[in-house]
């Protein structure tokens, strides 16, 4: 009996490791990050903890967008709108009516999901048409943020949004904010990973690849599309709410079409159909400008144009987009993983054995 109990624990441990090894490796990385990143950041003039905090916020949205775009195959060029909705709802509630931050964030999240629900009819559109309609939604949201002055403060925006305050615990230092954001990110990533590896996730990926076949298999495609859209909108709203409380100041220019495009870049360049790709994508978009800005500090003498990087940012950004699309159309993470897999498979072939044979049947049956 004892032995069986031991085996069972071992079994659970093995299963957890197998299913969540990325998380088990990544969580300590996040946990320990401030330890090394603060001194390192100071020496290379890069506020890594602060930037990672931003990465976390964008990851929340990007992972939602990835569910919609990468997994379900429905393009959205207006996702910044949902971040905006979350941010404004929470900011208005807490500055005007003194709602606690968590309540505002919750309501913002729900409202973003509700707007997603209202917009669900556009999901009937496909391809370019869907992309354009969502772009339209993004632009319309921006105009409303700007023009509804009484509510949103117009272009001036909303300032002095209170800090996050969770059940009496004020989250004010950048390090605390970092931990808060990343705890949430890891939780959301975990839930999203569970989701995409479940029956639901399979159904979503299935209708992306063949809508007709998925329908024949009993997947109610229209309903799933709507639910994914709502989920993705809700994650946008959640990120927006947190963003407004961490940044303390929001105005419409922060939720313009440019944000939506940046979010798409995070998903597409980071990696379509990859939960971790969103982390990579968000990191790239957030870190790139700061890294280049910090370059002169590391290397002393750099060509003048590097110093003037901000002028060239658009060029570099645009070029990265185009080149990624041409050479790594599935994004950095997904393409790398696939390359790696293809290599191992090739090696297995060369050694004359078909790879799955080496896996005991029980393993194949019960898990990955």
């Amino acid at each position: 009996m004892v032995k069986r109990g031991f085996l069972a624990t071992r079994g659970i441990a093995r299963r957890v490791w197998r299913n969540y090894k990325a998380f088990l490796l990544f969580s300590p990385f996040v946990l320990l990050l401030p330890l090394w990143a603060e001194p390192l950041g100071r020496s290379i003039s890069l506020n890594i903890v602060y930037l990672m905090r931003m990465v976390g916020i964008f990851t929340l949205t990007a992972v939602g967008l990835n569910l919609l775009m990468g997994y379900a195959g429905q393009a959205s060029l207006g996702h910044g709108a949902f971040m905006g909705i979350g941010a404004y709802v929470s900011a208005i509630l807490s500055t005007r009516w003194g709602w606690p931050a968590w309540a505002g964030i919750l309501l913002g999240t729900l409202l973003a999901a509700f707007v997603g629900y209202l917009l669900a009819p556009i999901l009937r559109l496909r391809g370019h048409y869907l992309a354009m309609a969502t772009l339209g939604v993004g632009i319309a949201a921006f105009i409303f943020f700007r023009e509804m002055t009484g509510l949103t403060g117009g272009n001036v925006g909303i300032r002095e949004i209170p800090k996050l305050n969770l059940f009496g615990l004020e989250i004010s230092s950048k390090k605390a904010e970092f931990y808060f954001v990343w705890l949430l990110v890891i939780l959301v990533l975990l839930l999203c990973q569970n989701l995409v590896r479940s029956r639901v996730g399979r159904a979503i990926r299935a209708f992306h690849q063949s809508e007709v076949a998925a329908r024949i298999m009993g997947v109610d495609v229209a309903s799933y599309k709507m639910k994914v859209f709502m989920l993705s909108a809700a994650l946008g709203g959640l990120a927006g709410g947190i963003y407004s409380h961490l940044q303390g100041y929001i105005n419409p220019s922060q939720f313009s079409v440019m944000l939506s495009i940046q979010l798409v870049v995070m998903v597409v360049v980071g990696g379509m159909e990859s939960i971790w790709g969103s982390v990579a994508g968000a990191s790239l978009v957030v870190f790139l400008p700061s890294l280049v800005e910090a370059l002169p500090k590391w290397m002393g003498n750099v060509p003048a144009w590097v110093r003037q990087y901000s002028n060239y940012e658009g060029l570099v950004f645009g070029a990265i987009l185009v080149l990624t699309m041409i050479f790594l159309p599935k994004g950095i993470t997904t393409s790398t993983v696939e390359f790696y897999r293809r290599k191992t498979r090739k090696a297995a072939e060369l050694m004359g054995e078909e790879e799955p044979v080496s896996i005991p049947e029980e393993e194949v049956r019960n898990g990955k």
Binding site: I122, G127, H128, Y129, A140, I143, F144, V257, G318, P329
Partner: protein, 298 residues
């Protein structure tokens, strides 16, 4: 209400002026979409580039207006060609989303490039003519005649090109059935280049007639309006673009007038007109108002 109606002729005249610009933009979108199946998000940049080049050629280099315009158009067409070769060609058959992102990337790149060369807030591009013409109930800029003339000329030229020339027939064939087009010996890849070059010229022309002020950021504004017009006319239908352009142009000015004069609401909402129109048409009549556009299949 009375003021609104007495101003209506003026709104309509203004709407026609904007329409010309939108029509030219929309035709560019439609042409590229029909012959390559791609919506070129960088279409707006063509307008900006050509207007700014025209500025440099005429103001900085002192070329006569005609030469400056020709030079600007030629250069913009060349940029269109380059875009097709460098971005669109390598992405053939890689899916809608990939193409969308790549053209967005190209648009960001071109805009940033333009900003480096023309960093100022705005440049003054010479007008073709100056002066003012008055009608009983409305007045307009003499430039408007040029806009109307050029737009009419361009629509006619496009008609002749598409129906009377080998190139045009090839483009139409590609739009209708690319495979059959290949089988009758049409070089589809050449047609794709031609479509981009012509679309760049159309965009360039739109930028030139929307003179006299140009800056690197103007592409987005014109692009969204032009795209809306293209969708309303039925994406891929080059002549539907004319209808779409007129619809957007007129509606925008009339709504702006209505909002401001009748309702007393900020006309800042005016920009939402095109966007809401875009979403509604996409939802309820994705084939466009006249219903000849190509609707994307699974």
């Amino acid at each position: 209400m009375g003021a609104f109606f007495s101003n209506l002729p003026q709104y309509l005249v203004n709407g026609i002026g904007s329409s010309c610009v939108y029509i030219l933009m929309a035709m560019g979108f439609s042409l590229v979409y029909s012959s390559t199946g791609i919506i070129n998000f960088a279409q707006g940049e063509f307008a900006a580039i050509s207007a700014l080049v025209a500025y440099t050629l005429s103001m900085d280099l002192g070329l006569p207006l005609l030469l400056a315009v020709a030079g600007a158009l030629a250069l913009t067409g060349f940029v269109g060609l380059l875009l097709e070769r460098a971005v669109i060609r390598p992405l053939q058959g890689k899916g809608t989303l990939t193409a969308i992102i790549a053209t967005i990337g190209a648009s960001i790149f071109l805009k940033a490039g333009a900003r480096i060369i023309w960093p100022e807030e705005a440049y003054k591009v010479p007008e073709f003519t100056q002066g003012q013409l008055n009608l009983p109930k409305a007045s307009f800029n003499a430039q408007l005649l040029w806009m109307l003339g050029l737009t009419a000329f361009t629509v006619a030229a496009m008609y002749l090109l598409m129906n009377g020339t080998k190139l045009g027939k090839g483009l139409r064939a590609c739009a209708i059935n690319p495979e059959a087009a290949r089988l009758v010996g049409i070089d589809v890849s050449l047609m794709s280049m031609a479509a981009f070059a012509i679309a760049a010229l159309l965009g360039g022309l739109a930028g030139l007639v929307s003179a006299p002020f140009a800056n690197y950021g103007m592409g987005l504004y014109l692009g969204i309006k032009g795209f809306t017009a293209a969708v309303i006319g039925g994406l891929g239908d080059v002549y539907g673009a004319v209808l779409g352009g007129i619809t957007v142009g007129l509606l925008e000015e009339v709504v702006a007038g209505f909002l401001s004069v009748v309702l007393g609401v900020s006309s800042g909402y005016k920009d939402a007109v095109a966007v809401i129109l875009l979403i509604s048409v996409l939802l309820f009549r994705p084939q466009g108002l006249v219903g000849k556009g190509l609707v994307e299949k699974v």
